[in-house]
Amino acid sequence: MRPFPVRQNGSAASVTAAGPADAAPGPPAASAKRTVLRVAEQYGLLMALLLAFVAFSIALPSTFPTVGNVKAMIDSQAIILLLAIAVTLPLRSGDFDLSIAGLMTATAALTAQLTTHGTSLGVAIIVVLAVGLATGLINGLLIVKLGVDSFVTTLGMMTALSGLAFAFTSNQVITNLPSDLLTLARQQILGFPTVVWIGWVLVAVAWYVYQRTPFGRYLLFIGGSRESARLAGLRVDILRISCFATCSLIAAFTGVLLAGNVGQVDPSIASQFLLQPFAGVFLGATTITVGRVNSLGTLVALYLLVVGITGLQLYGAQPWVSDVFNGAALVLAVTFARLAARSNAGR
């Protein structure tokens, strides 16, 4: 049953989104202009990031372009980056997973509860990963095998898991977490805590997998047309389920890192993390491999958003300005990307 938005491929006549690899061989006269446009399209977001950085550095020379501020901005995005990379998997293969924020909060709560009640960190991690795997499999089986819609199923899971987070901690904020848990997330390596490094490594792995391996292509294929992928002999069900499972495993482990990173677990935070990863992924899909969910773009997008918000805050803008910036950045970026794609397609 699919009572919901059926995202549609444009018709042959109206498809204009230019993928990275598809320059229609144009007449040479137009080709220089087209190259500029293509570069603008592909690296526009990156340029926006650099521009924003430079602009705020000039405007706020003493507070913005400092090592400490840059590190603070990067650190603050670590958890969201992990969630965003997790959710690229199902998104690439055409499914939503709204449950990750709930799952992360539930596993953070579980980790805190277990480790403050004598369970060793290793065992806690195993339990958490098992919970993650179970969640991913439930999502995957319901959505893939039964054909239930992914948006609504994972919305339900999100709500249920947020509730379970409260159950795990008996409605309390859990503090005084053991030091090995804190170390796991905070150990500094070359000036950045492990949680940041784990995010970067995931970005790199995802980049390799998405750009360079058949697996990454398969996901795109499945996301593009499930039926065609099936007819082409792909094991669509297994691949989709494995995306849900991997996504949930990453989200579950992110819960452990969240507990260690923040140093306490408040079971009420799930909804804070619901939308930001999606904003990052969607914004990121407007750059690098334009029109396709990708990990480097996601990284750039999240850093652009945090640079904008931090700069505005340091500049003394009213707090609400950052919400407006956040929203407007998203809308404008996808709009410009779309316009660039249209010009590229020679319309």
Partner: protein, 510 residues
């Protein structure tokens, strides 16, 4: 040939969809080196049988499948690992991805699941395959921008790649691969199939074009209502035998009588019409005329119905209907003036597969009427039901979803949907695609009826035999321009083919 090993043997295959019996204890086998044609009326169960072989459907219990004399479990998993390559009616290409990406997907892009893909090697491989097919398609083109015929070419090239990776012991199944192709292109596909079979593979193919079947098949199996009606060596039978097995009766006439339209003032005047590839085409058409358009893939004639119909925007030109220029008009306004387009891509443009036949058939009428005038469900049902009967849709049950009909019956639904609007200009893009020989007569009769009631009928088709038999005039296009016009006795299948082909050296570019 009788000693050749059996590549695939199905026994006792039945399949029910709800209460409907799609297949009833079918036995079916193919030998190595053999091209086996699977024939039957629309809805007789051919695609269902193929989908069981490819593992898409699971058959009812009791069916057995042997591949190269080894029993395998049903439903079949990972058919390609068993050396089975299938090209379905729906082709299995993703529009938003490039040709390169589409062509690698069945071969794991020549890499391990998480191993690095070599782009250069991939590109070279695809280039080779496309060249072998004579397709001048850029590997980085989006599939969305290809014509249906070019897509079929890509799908075949892709399946061929899989074939070549499993040189021996291979079963190659094509479900109506030539449905979008012109005669010469489908000839190329036939030669390809022959080469594959000669290499020792087993080949199954489905087609409603009996001529090509007789030309290439070694053995023929005919299904009727989900049972095997006849199976025989091709050289022991002829088209008549096929048809009587298919229909359970003989067919003495394949095409309706040609109309002799009385000469009349042209009502449709097309001047210098140009689009993406169409480079300036002019012609006039009078009421009651049936005009055919032919050309190779990418020659521009495919665009004409969509430009006149208002789906795509013309770059220059004029299309006058009774003195009014259509080009500035919106699609709906053209429909209101009787411009009726039966699109070629029925999955995307023709119907919404998840809605019922009734909802699809009545949509054009609804969209012309007021958005707020209350629906009349029972009148709708009556209309839909009678139209479905008129166009021979089986089963004629309006409340079934379009997706639940066989391919040919879906096409009849699309025709019923559009031809019910008493058109002034009827634009038909491959109108009889996937329709069986028996039903084709009926459909062409309906088209002829439309012309008789003073419609201008334009048929765009690669089925030159059909063009030769129903059209009063045929325009042949090359490189976006009309290069020949045939009338009267000049219109023969070989003549159209030769003019369309032109100089063999200059291939269409894409």
């Amino acid at each position: 040939m009788t000693e050749a090993p059996t590549g695939l043997a199905l026994t006792g295959v039945s399949k029910h969809f709800g209460g409907l019996t799609a297949l009833d204890s079918v036995d079916f086998s193919v030998r190595a080196g053999e091209i086996h044609a699977l024939l039957g009326q629309n809805g007789s169960g051919k695609s269902t049988l193929v989908k069981i072989i490819s593992g898409f459907h699971s058959p009812d219990p009791g069916a057995r499948l042997e591949l190269w004399d080894r029993q395998v479990d049903l439903p079949l998993r990972a058919a390609h690992e068993h050396g089975i390559a299938v090209i379905h009616q729906d082709l299995g290409l993703v529009e938003g991805m490039t040709v390169l990406e589409n062509m690698g997907v069945t071969s794991s892009y020549g890499a391990a699941l998480l191993g690095p893909i070599s782009r250069r090697r991939e590109r070279r491989r695809c280039r080779e395959l496309l060249d072998q097919m004579g397709l001048a398609i850029e590997t980085d083109t989006m599939v969305a921008s290809l014509s249906p015929a070019a897509r079929a070419g890509v799908a075949i090239a892709r399946a061929r790649r899989v074939l070549e990776e499993h040189t021996e012991r291979f079963t190659f199944i094509l479900d109506e691969p030539t449905v979008y192709l012109s005669v010469e292109e489908s000839g190329r596909v036939m030669r390809l199939m022959r080469a594959v079979a000669d290499d020792g593979s087993a080949v199954v193919f489905i087609s409603h074009r009996l001529q090509e079947v007789m030309a290439v098949a070694d053995r023929i199996t005919v299904l009727r209502d989900g049972r095997v009606a006849d199976t025989f060596q091709a050289r022991e039978g002829n088209q008549r035998r096929i048809i009587s097995a298919m229909l359970g009766r003989s067919l003495d006439q394949f095409y309706p009588d040609r109309l002799n339209a009385p000469p009349a003032e042209p009502v449709l005047r097309v001047t210098d019409l140009a689009g993406q590839r169409l480079a300036g085409v002019s012609f006039n058409a009078s009421p009651g005329e049936i005009i055919g358009f032919a050309g190779l893939v990418g020659m521009g004639h495919e665009e004409i119905p969509y430009l006149i119909g208002g789906v795509d925007r013309a770059t220059v030109g004029q299309v006058k209907l009774g003195g009014v220029d259509l080009l500035p008009l919106r699609l709906k306004e053209r429909i209101e003036r009787g411009v009726t387009l039966v699109p070629g891509n029925r999955q995307r443009d023709g119907a919404w597969p998840a809605a019922t036949a009734q909802e699809n058939i009545t949509l054009p009428k609804l969209s012309l009427g007021s958005a707020w005038h209350p629906l009349r469900p029972s009148a709708e049902r009556r209309d839909a039901s009678s139209l479905m009967k008129l166009f021979g849709v089986r089963p004629p049950v309006p409340r079934l979803k379009v997706a639940q009909f066989s391919g040919g019956n879906q096409q009849k639904i699309v025709l019923a949907k559009w031809m019910s609007t008493s058109p002034a200009v009827l634009l038909l893009d491959e109108p009889t695609q996937g329709i069986d020989a028996g039903a084709k007569f009926e459909i062409l009769q309906r088209i002829s009826d439309a012309a008789e009631s003073r419609a201008v009928v334009l048929i765009f088709s690669g089925d030159y035999e059909q063009l030769a038999n129903v059209c009063g005039r045929v325009l042949v296009l090359r490189h976006g321009r009309v290069t020949a016009e045939l009338t009267g006795d000049e219109i023969t299948e070989p003549a159209i083919a030769q003019l369309a082909q032109g100089d063999t050296q200059d291939r269409p570019d894409s």
